[in-house]
């Protein structure tokens, strides 16, 4: 049976999907700006962060209004609560993309200390995790969401590896220190983006099954030692 306020939930859903699309675009553009030293794209990314901020506020308002007036239960209640949490994660993804582009100007002033290989690799995984997490939202797919959580370790490992590598650069060639630090921060931002994608995936499992899998063995990579 259709209810007269079902369209409110549809709007809520599409706002979250839109946030997901913007967040993915922001990360992709931030990486492109970094690799191509494209300062104007970097500026665009920084300027577009406001879109995500405003959508997060809008989703919170809609969620609180819906809970107050429509008394949702079961899947609907989970959708509203998960929507609020996921929108917060997506807003933070936008912040991390902004953190990345803030470093582009400084990095592009000097030649790269090494070719960009690991950062794009990490970013590709993180972006795919984000995309998949948003697909799980559309498809209400808990199994796929669990696989996303398990991929987080790949990004964590790459981040640690890059950290070690950049540390040795700084020791061997102290003049690279400031650039190496910028790259470490970028690596950390990408690692955080993957964490937010993992959070969203966990939220989608909760949406689909009503099970809270955070901090459980389930979400760990089975290959992890």
């Amino acid at each position: 049976m259709k209810r007269f306020f079902d369209t409110e939930l549809e709007t809520f859903r599409s706002n979250l999907v839109m946030m997901g699309e913007i967040a993915v675009r922001q990360v992709r553009d931030a990486m492109k700006a970094l690799i191509e030293s494209d300062l104007s794209l970097a500026d665009q990314v920084a300027a577009a962060d406001d879109e995500l901020d405003q959508l997060e506020i809008k989703i919170d308002e809609e969620a609180i209004r819906y809970m107050s007036l429509r008394s949702p239960v079961a899947t609907e209640l989970r959708l509203v609560v998960v929507g609020m949490k996921a929108s917060h994660d997506l807003e933070r993804v936008g912040d991390e993309a902004t953190n990345i582009v803030r470093r582009v100007a400084r990095l592009s002033a000097e030649p790269p200390i090494k070719p960009y290989v690991d950062l794009p690799r990490m970013a590709t995984i993180a972006i795919q995790m984000l995309r998949d997490a948003m697909d799980c939202f559309l498809q209400i797919d808990a199994e796929k969401a669990l696989l996303i959580c398990q991929r987080d370790k790949e990004v964590d490992d790459l981040n640690r590896q890059l950290y070690r590598e950049l540390s040795s650069y700084m020791i061997e060639r102290p003049e690279t220190t400031s650039r190496a630090l910028e790259l470490m921060f970028i690596s950390k931002s990408i690692e955080r983006i993957a964490d937010h994608a993992t959070n969203i995936a966990e939220e989608m499992i909760y949406l689909a099954k009503g099970e809270d899998v955070r901090h459980t063995e389930q979400t760990r990579n089975p290959d992890a030692g």
Binding site: M1, S71, P72, V73, A74, T75, G210
Partner: protein
Amino acid sequence: MSAHTLMEITPTTFAPPIADKPAQADSEVHQTLIDIANLDFFYGETKALHDISLKIPEKEVTAFIGPSGCGKSTLLRCLNRMNDLIDIARVDRGTIRIRDIDIYQPDVDVIELRKRVGMVFQKSNPFPKSIYENITYGLRLQGVSAKSRLDEVVERSLRGAALWDEVKDRLHESGLSLSGGQQQRLCIARAIAVEPEIILMDEPCSALDPIATARVEELIHELKSKYTIVIVTHNMQQAARCSDRTAFFYLGRLVEYADTQTIFMKPSDAQTEAYVSGRFG
């Protein structure tokens, strides 16, 4: 309503003092008090309940929910054999045991049963007598006449029904002079005056305003420390607020029975989900 009918439907005498057990902590697993097994029920040729099996724990609130005609009130009325009053109604198969006694056995004294299993109705139905007489009616029928004893029961019951402070100075005024919400609490006081073990409530708040409803809900919460309560309600939020366990019925069948949190947070049946979300019914 004849006096005979009133006696039939109102617990009138003192039941064994089972209700005096201390309240149990929420975390304790409560024992099954009412055990319904494979119950089929007919009105004439129409099967109203299909193979219902359900265990209701003691000193908890169990809510029966479902769209009109789903059988929830019929099942409630089976629990104190209220349906015996309808000629064409019959339990065809299955059992209902209360503390291991099959209440449909021919040797069960129905009047005794209804003393143990009190009932509160949708429309408050105080007797056209004083507040005091409403409460003492059952005890007087039992032959209790000592004023001190009656006074004590009146105060205890009215306090139990959270009505004492509002009516203590007007106990000899007519029960019908009270507001709707007060009348409903008077009926609850009358039900608990005879110390039943179980209180059945059939839509007890549907005729009440939100404040009176909140009082009755508060009362239900307090009463469960002493009594086992089974409530039929159309108000989803009431079931969510008041009950520990919820049973969802549809077309005479028990679709899902679980703790209330599960029913409202992650029901396992799609029909339950649709009903509690207001998508059908």
